[in-house]
């Protein structure tokens, strides 16, 4: 079109109206307050859980005909299950597990059935001298407790075996081996690999960040799509199209509604993050010094926050534009429900790959998805949190994302312009494509 069509100031004027129209509604204020309160509840949830757990002691009963065997089983399980946290004061710390010898096997079974016991270890000595251990429990074989007790079973076996060896004065006393994990794919902070607590914090934060990105994209993207579709089918469009160009209107809508979504997002996320940051102090105040489980934000650094901000904004912009294009295509807002499903699924795929990446996955799929839009915002975010990423990978990922945004912006504008040109009609796909080409 020969007519000059600068984005500003009209796109800015439209954006400001869209932003105000949304943020000033009572629904917006009300839902933001409710969601912020919920998020704060979630943030202090772990403290509440631990506060309740403080009273709870898990009891494990050991049943064995051989008294010596039963005693050694109790001492091994007790040592494995009750490791005091670093810095715990000896006087105040209480053991979370109570392991005891049960005299009456039938009574123990009855207690287990009632829920009074977390599990029963049944020990038998087989005729060939081997120890047979069965853990009777309501949990599955892969539960953390079942697995740590399988290690205990191994320990019991080793102790039993060494106790039955002929005495030998020259033999050194048993010392358990030192054990740690050294992963070559662990994220580093200023060159030094993260310690286990920081790594755990990063894993947790990674999940939170990726989920937040997914939710924001699906919810606020839908806001954008609905806003675009609603105005396109509303009668005010007639007044608008003579006042502003399709490009200005679309840009204004995406920026305005997107910012309203981000405002709500920040209003929800910031109080929750502050609470998370204070979680240790709150826990110390409420539960005493022994319950410190590591600062949840311990793994966070300014660089990581920046990375999160960049990938969040770029990812959000990309999806908001795709949603806007979708809103331009439909002729009635109802049709959006149908069209939004495939788009949500695309976002979901990104989310799932990101979860794999958070779990330590670093295969070809993860590396590729961390570079290619529209998955890269999710997956690169996850990789940044938990593993070592090369600088060129980050640059390539951002570059591809920006390029994708530019392409989608052009396509979305054309689709929107076509929707405007065909105002009042219900175009078929062919008419729509033809109009989009001309636009």
């Amino acid at each position: 079109m020969a007519r000059r069509d600068p984005l500003l100031p009209n796109a800015g004027i439209v954006a400001r109206r869209e932003y105000r129209d949304r943020t000033r509604s009572r629904m917006f204020v009300g839902s933001t307050v409710v969601l912020a309160l919920l998020a704060m509840l979630v943030a202090i949830g772990p403290i509440a859980a631990r506060y309740l757990d403080r009273q709870t002691v898990t009891r494990i009963a050991v049943v064995a005909a051989d008294t010596e065997l039963a005693k050694s089983a109790v001492s091994v399980a007790d040592a494995l299950l009750n490791v005091p946290p670093v810095g715990a004061a000896e006087g105040t710390w209480k053991k979370p597990y109570q392991v005891e010898v049960a005299d009456d096997a039938a009574a123990a079974e009855a207690r287990l059935a009632r829920g009074g016991l977390g599990g029963i270890m049944v020990l038998q000595r087989l005729p060939d001298g081997q120890v047979d251990i069965a853990l009777r429990t309501t949990e599955g074989p892969n539960s953390a407790r079942s697995q740590i007790l399988s290690v205990a079973a191994f320990g019991i076996g080793v102790l039993d075996w060494s106790a039955r060896l002929p005495p030998d004065a020259s033999r050194e006393i048993f010392r358990p081996p030192a054990y740690r994990v050294e992963s070559i794919n662990t994220a580093t902070d200023a060159g030094t690999p993260l310690d286990s607590r920081q790594a755990a914090s990063r894993y947790l934060l990674g999940i939170v960040f990726v989920i937040l990105l997914l939710i924001s994209i699906v919810i606020y993207g839908m806001w954008v799509a609905t806003g675009v579709a609603a105005e396109k089918s509303s009668r005010v469009m007639e007044l608008m199209i003579s006042a502003a160009s399709p490009r200005q209107m679309l840009a204004g809508k995406v920026v305005g509604i997107g910012s309203a979504g981000l405002t709500q997002y920040l209003a929800i996320a910031i109080p929750a993050l502050v609470l998370l940051g204070l979680q240790d102090r709150i826990a110390t105040a409420v539960l005493g010094p022994d319950w410190i489980a590591g600062a949840p934000l311990g793994g966070l650094s300014p660089a990581l926050l920046l990375g999160y901000g960049v990938f969040f904004l770029l990812g959000f912009t990309l999806f908001a534009l795709i949603y806007a294009a979708m809103g331009s295509f439909v002729s009635r807002p109802d049709d959006l429900q149908t069209l939004s499903l495939p788009l949500s699924l695309v976002a979901m795929v990104g989310y799932l790959i990101a979860i794999v990446a958070l779990g330590g996955g670093s295969g070809t799929l993860v590396r590729l998805a961390s570079l290619v839009p529209p998955f890269s915002p999710f997956v690169m975010l996850a990789r940044l949190m938990v593993s070592a990423v090369q600088p060129w990978e980050i640059l390539l990922s951002v570059g591809l994302l920006v390029a994708a945004i530019a392409v989608v912006a052009v396509v979305a504008t054309r689709m929107y312009a076509a929707g405007v040109l065909l105002y009042g009609q219900r175009p078929g796909l062919r008419a729509f494509v033809a109009a989009a080409r001309r636009a």
């Binding site: 020969a2 007519r3 100031p9 007639e238 003579s242």
Partner: protein
């Protein structure tokens, strides 16, 4: 110095919406753009605004193609009435003014003045959805003229207005014309068009069927209307048998006779007097715009809802009681 619609053609799929439509509107004129629904009026306006593009032909304002003109050249009152429902009236007007490049404080001043003029100053802070349809329409009109456009395009500006608001709107039209603005509107209310327009264009199926100065059109048609009233029987049966009569209608005030171009009014009067009738009114008038419209577009069938009914119009008197 005019708006030229230069042989504009527009197709939607297989439908030809505009077929080499051509006419001209002089600067500072009030121009009636008439035609049945679906005749192509809205399409023409959208092409003027550059919202849609013509397949062939061009629209020019003062010699410049509309594609080169800034948006603020135009004011547009669409037929579909719509405002942002949850937005306050004044905010809304400032918003539209800003989109056309008006500084917010000036837009606010102008909007307040217009609201006062249309006697709705108290509605400035109300949400648009709280206003009646007629008042929303006035707000829409203000949104279209706030930036003082050179050309004002209006699609059915009078529908839905009560008589008082109709007068207010007509007065606004006249004032804008006196300020040198060009006003083009479509309407089915022939009375309003007749009262306001110097020139008209009548379109049918995307083609111009009549256009030019209203006075010239009336003269060219050669048709005249004769209004008669009698003491006694208001509608004698013998009227239809008089020479040069095409049609006879009975009105509340008397009879209305459509004359053939060949009719001779003095001879008709003589024939009536020869019948011994007591004539209390003999009024020879140019044809009404409605009559012209029907002549060119055809009479709407009774079940056709697209044409709003309009009343017989007292028009410029070309004769008196003989």
């Amino acid at each position: 110095m005019s708006l030229e619609i230069d042989h504009v053609t527009k197709r939607f799929g297989r439908t030809v919406a505009l077929d080499r439509l051509a006419f001209e509107v002089g600067r500072g004129e009030v121009f009636g753009f008439l035609g049945a629904n679906g005749a192509g009026k809205t399409t023409t306006m959208r092409i003027c605004l550059g919202i849609i593009r013509a397949d062939a032909g061009e629209v020019r304002w003062e010699g410049r193609s509309t594609a080169d003109l800034p948006r603020r050249t135009w004011g547009y009152l669409p037929e579909e009435r719509g405002l942002h429902p949850r937005m306050g009236v004044l905010d809304q007007l400032v918003y539209f003014g800003s989109l056309y490049g008006l500084p917010p404080d000036r837009a606010r001043r102008e909007a307040i003045a217009w609201l006062a003029r249309f006697r709705i100053p108290d509605y400035a802070d109300r949400r648009a959805e709280e206003l009646s349809k007629g008042n929303q329409q006035k707000v829409q009109f203000i949104a279209a003229v706030l930036h003082d456009p050179e050309v004002l395009l209006m699609d059915e500006p009078f529908t839905g207005l009560d008589p008082l608001n109709l007068v207010l709107l007509r007065e606004a039209f006249m004032e804008l014309r006196d300020r040198g603005r060009t006003l083009i509107f479509s309407t089915h209310q022939m009375e309003s068009a007749e009262a306001l327009c110097e020139s008209v264009a009548i379109v049918d199926h995307g083609r111009l069927v009549a256009g030019g100065r209203l006075r010239d059109l009336k003269r060219a048609s050669g048709r005249r209307t004769l209004r008669l009233a009698f003491d006694g029987d208001p509608l004698p049966a013998w009227l239809a048998g008089l020479p040069g009569i095409e049609a006879v209608r009975g009105g509340a005030a008397g009879a209305e006779l459509e004359l053939l171009p060949t009719a001779d009014p003095p001879a008709i009067l003589a024939a009536i007097l020869a019948r011994g009738a007591q004539v209390t009114r003999f009024d020879l008038a140019e044809p009404s715009l409605e009559a012209l419209f029907i002549e060119h577009v055809g009479r709407p069938s009774d079940d056709d809802p697209t044409l709003a009914p309009s009343l017989p119009v007292p028009s410029v008197s070309a004769g008196g009681i003989a």
